[in-house]
Amino acid sequence: MITLFLIAKTLHFSNFPNSIRKSTGQKLHPAPFPLDRHRRQQILSRKTISLKFLQESDQDHQALFILASIWIMELNSIKDAFDRVTKKQKISSSKSQETIQQITQEINDAISGIQSTDHKSILNELKAKLKEIAPLTQLESTQKELNIAFSKYTKLLEKQFNPDISKSYRNVDFDLHTVNQIIAGHLYREGLFEIGDCFINESNENDVIERKTHFLEMYKILESMKSRDLVPALNWAAANHENLQKNGSDIELKLHRLQFMEILQHGRRDEALKYARTHFSPFADHHLPEIQKLMACLLWAGKLESSPYSEFLSPTHWAKLGHELAQQFCNLIGESHQSPLSVTVAAGVQGLPTLLKLMNVMTGKKHEWQSMKQLPVPVDLDQEFQFHSIFVCPVSRDQAGEDNPPMLMSCGHVLCKQSITKLSKNNSTRPFKCPYCPTEVEVGQCRQLFF
């Protein structure tokens, strides 16, 4: 805590960007224009960051601020470098203009001079003058400065970014046809039908038509919902009544509820009552309290906004239900809820930095990398990418599988079967001590687990 306080103090009183660079062991980049806009912004943000920094007490936030500020500083230094490039480019460009103007001027002067005197001497004079101007050397010198700015910017990019993200790429046959199919499917499921068609046309793929019709139907329903027309959605729900119920979804009732409220909101109470009678009754068994509430709304017709049920009117219901419908729709047609391409690319974005770091330490073992059956290091992904239960035996560090299943010991700790066999010295009657607690365990009492 004391160190953090000290860091905060230095941040506050000293040159913030530099000090943070020091603390991360990076080289200093003194800004050349002390009072330009960026610089002022930097100074401004340095104060607020350090203030915030002191206010935040939990460690997570402190780490966050350091990380965020380092990144912002880095981006700012890149922006500065780019500004320098454009500045030099402007100088160079106006220098060229100026030079051309100068030469033109001299020549024009000479033209008017020629009329009166001997042209040869005028021309020689012109030649001498231009030699003195030395336009080419002038152009060259500004260009040189521009080149320096170019290479500085390029180098900075190379340093702050990963200059080659294909380092961990395996040179395997990545089937073009398969990738194209995946992309076409993705475009359709995102509702980009026109682009999908264009893609199919250009890439000569054509077996994605079936998926397209499915998603066309889905987007039609969703579009109608956006204009507050529930009929297509209700038709779909009625047609898939059984399947929806099997999946335990009450989306049909939710759609009816929305329709009921819509009718009621327009003040047509009798119609609403009739609607409720025909459509709510099939759901009475499981959703009675909900239906009671809805019926109570009838009492408030015309002044629903001030009723205890005003919550039912919230427009968020529409968006939420649209989302849920998409989910159920995908479920019924056997598609995942999220585009598998988005999921894989997002996982790739998260995993790639680790793989690239791995390649840095594996230099010289490129060949091994190309044939490895399993990654040598774990790649940590967010929970949203965790689709399977993976049990790693804490003793052997092996991943459990069919031939080596996880076993629950009588004390509640879990090991892999092979580890248990080893610990018991392959003697099923001899008890052994659990590696994690003092309990004596017998092999016979261990049970296989299914995650």
Partner: protein, 415 residues
């Protein structure tokens, strides 16, 4: 410790902080630092995103500058000749030089308009990177996927789709369509077995290609030579070789000799070594070669970004469980097409157990511990607790349909 360094009141400091908070929203919000670290790490993968438009900008500036240099030096040498002319001729010469300079000036003005646009594009990308923050992350990720897709389409020469996707998503400044159109000309010509545009491109980028020791131009020349041999224009072939192939002799002697031997074998040879040189697939090879040179010149990865990210994602997601019959649909690897792409890739590795509840799909940890039913099936506390509460303490195993009492459940310790 004083609240601020330059003696301002605390109030002004507070207003200042709120102003800056608004301008750097990515700094704040309820984000764990690991997430933020992930974000910065992922932004560092965007080298190509900044580099490509910059190379383009640089190229334009240099080309414009070369024009100026050339014209100015032409004007200068033309002036020095003028001394020997008669008076009328000299005046005429000077006038023509003035109009030439004016033309150059106009050209320069047009050129700087282009330069300005390209600089804006570079800056738009910097701004886009800066805009990534916790509050707009899903939208930003969406745009990234679109950028990656456009990159793929451009590399595969699906120009119409790429343009359409960029236009409808309004990301024209974030993708390199213009640059790839430059490549399109050359690729189309190579497809029609013409080398002239490719050679012109080589001449345009002579110094950079030389720096990277590219032999693309040499290969183009070889192909032209082979075409001459194919049409049995032997004299022409030898003349061509003298003019265009000889300069490469020092570096690529072996290949040169091999191609020269085709003069003796002719196009209907049965000898394998020389037969391949006449095959049409040589043109495909040149096309591939060009694409690589082109990408290298602009600082792009040689593989499409999509393939790189897909490979990384697939390796990270690939587990033996993905290939089991009951694999969840949500896992991309439950699909045949993704499995096919993943088949040559390594499996992921785990150092620690990660248990996902079958019912809630949530991670099981100390907060939400795994519970074991008497039949050995494991579910999360959250799922079983809810089930027990709404079913009078009875639990039905969703996979075996067996019914148990909540009291029969026991805790498992996973380390």
């Amino acid at each position: 410790m004083e609240p601020n360094t330059n003696g301002n009141s605390t109030v002004s400091n507070a207003t200042m902080s709120s102003a800056t908070v608004a301008s750097v929203p990515s700094l704040h919000g309820e984000v764990p630092s690991s997430k933020l670290n992930q974000l910065t790490e992922s932004l560092k993968l965007e080298h190509q995103f900044l580099r490509v438009p910059f190379e383009h900008y640089k190229k334009t500036i240099r080309a414009n500058h070369r024009v100026v240099e050339k014209e100015v030096s032409a004007v200068m040498s033309s002036l020095s000749d003028a001394v020997d002319l008669s008076q009328d001729d000299a005046v005429q010469r000077l006038n023509s030089l003035v109009s030439r300079l004016q033309g150059l000036k106009r050209k320069l003005e047009d050129g700087s308009k282009v330069e300005h646009l390209q600089a804006q594009r570079c800056r738009a990308r910097l701004d886009h990177l800066e805009s990534a923050g916790a509050d707009n992350i899903s939208e930003w990720n969406n745009t990234r996927l679109k950028r990656i897709l456009v990159d793929y389409m451009l590399r595969m020469s699906y120009y119409n789709t790429a343009t359409k996707l960029a236009e409808t998503s309004n990301i024209q400044d974030l993708v390199d369509i213009e640059i790839f159109y430059e490549a399109k000309k050359v690729i189309d010509a190579l497809r029609n077995k013409e080398v002239a545009p490719a050679l012109a491109w080589c001449a345009d980028n002579k110094s950079r290609l030389k720096k990277s020791k590219s032999k693309f131009e040499f290969q183009l020349r070889l192909q032209e030579f082979v075409e001459l041999v194919r049409s049995e224009n032997n004299v022409g072939a030898v003349m061509y070789a003298r003019k265009h192939l000889a300069p490469w002799a020092a570096t690529y002697m072996k290949e040169l000799q091999k191609v020269f031997a085709t003069l003796a074998f002719t196009s209907n040879t049965g000898c394998e070594t020389y037969k391949v040189l006449f095959e049409p697939k040589q043109w495909d090879y040149l096309m591939e070669q060009f694409k690589q040179e082109f990408c290298r010149l602009y600082g792009m990865t040689l593989e499409p970004l999509l393939n790189i990210y897909l490979q990384a994602g697939l390796s990270a997601l690939k587990t033996p469980f993905c290939y089991e019959e009951n694999c969840t649909k949500e896992d991309p690897l439950s699909q045949e097409s993704f499995r096919k792409l993943a088949s040559p890739l390594p499996f992921s590795k785990q150092h620690h157990s990660k248990l996902v509840c079958f019912i809630t799909k949530e991670l099981m940890d100390t907060e939400n511990p795994p519970l074991v039913l008497p039949n050995g099936y494991v579910y999360s506390f959250k799922a079983l607790d809810e089930m027990a509460n709404s079913n009078n303490g009875r639990i039905t195993c969703p996979r075996t349909q067996e019914v148990f009492n909540y009291t029969e459940v026991r805790k498992a310790y996973i380390s």
